[in-house]
Symmetry: C2
Subunit: 203 residues, 2 copies
Amino acid sequence: MSDKMKNTRSEIAHAARAEFVAHGYEGARLQKIADRIGVTKAMIHYYFNTKRELFEHVFRQSVEEMFSGLAELLDKNIPLFKKIEQLISACHNKAESDPGVLGFVLTESNRNADWLLPVIEEEITLEKSAFAEQIEEASASYTITSVDPNQLLLNIFSLCYYPSLSAPVNRAVLTDGDDKSGRELTAGRQGIVLDTILNWLTA
Amino acid sequence: MSDKMKNTRSEIAHAARAEFVAHGYEGARLQKIADRIGVTKAMIHYYFNTKRELFEHVFRQSVEEMFSGLAELLDKNIPLFKKIEQLISACHNKAESDPGVLGFVLTESNRNADWLLPVIEEEITLEKSAFAEQIEEASASYTITSVDPNQLLLNIFSLCYYPSLSAPVNRAVLTDGDDKSGRELTAGRQGIVLDTILNWLTA
DNA sequence: GTCTATATTGTGATAGAC
DNA sequence: GTCTATCACAATATAGAC
């Protein structure tokens, strides 16, 4: 693959990601993707044959990015509480650094489950045995209460990701559109999530 | 408005809701909405002029439904912990009884904030002063730790709603597509959420 | 590799008969 | 109120020149 080709190809992928995240699979327009980088629609078909193939490429990228680092973190050889803290920090970073991608992956997974869930399973393998073992040990020594590792992860994901998914609605519903209290809501958030999780575990 | 008219109109609205929830505003097709109830596209334009107007009608309905009862619950004259328990129960009911609507409202709010956030503000008013007062009192008497009412609500919404939003992804990522452990994940969920919230408050 | 031109199908919306 | 027929335009995709 030549440099020129690799460049245009990845430029298209990059522009496509923005368009798909903003409008979803059905709402995205190939013309707009082409416009974003100043090429013609024909180029998209040259590099990615169909809209469907282009989308799958973008979706794979997004899923990979959304979970990248988490598998390694779960396997890391550090104390349980430190691991949980880093997990929460990592999730917040993902939600903040690329807002929209999370909602994109979830929405498209719901709307095209038959097509995309197999893609997710291909792309993601969360090895949880080390994490589960740590929980088991901490529970056996009465350092924490006994919990299902999956429920713990689900609690962490929920507390970290939902506020980002619902940010605009929160501003309207919780803070009555007031920007100041809206920022306050996200400012102290990470510490609150950590508190919530740790207090639950050490009840 | 005649009975016949009211019937067809609400039939269209009902079919439109299913189509919009499944495909979003841009992905929804008026032809498919008409097909669902055996009328022609022309009928849709007769009752709801444009696709945009039809969508706004459906979106209003969905927002109303998503938050209906919550405002009253927050104002109810019952003990704080009982209120929290009922809040959690109500949110789980909403997520389970109409899966998809929650994600629909959030996704569309993100993608068309300028248009839809004002609609949400028109439709929803969460009077939180009674709830905030209860928290203040419980905190003053050292029954719970001091928390921001908005953060408490956000924690509850997160823990109740995110698992529903991410259900398909969870099956793929957390339970490796295993249906049995997938059901286990949702089975004990409501109790875990209550535990998480109460242990956080009484740390 | 990149473009222009075009084929084909689908989309929201309107006009007008009944 | 409900339908058929149709318009104007937009969408994905392809063919072929350079």
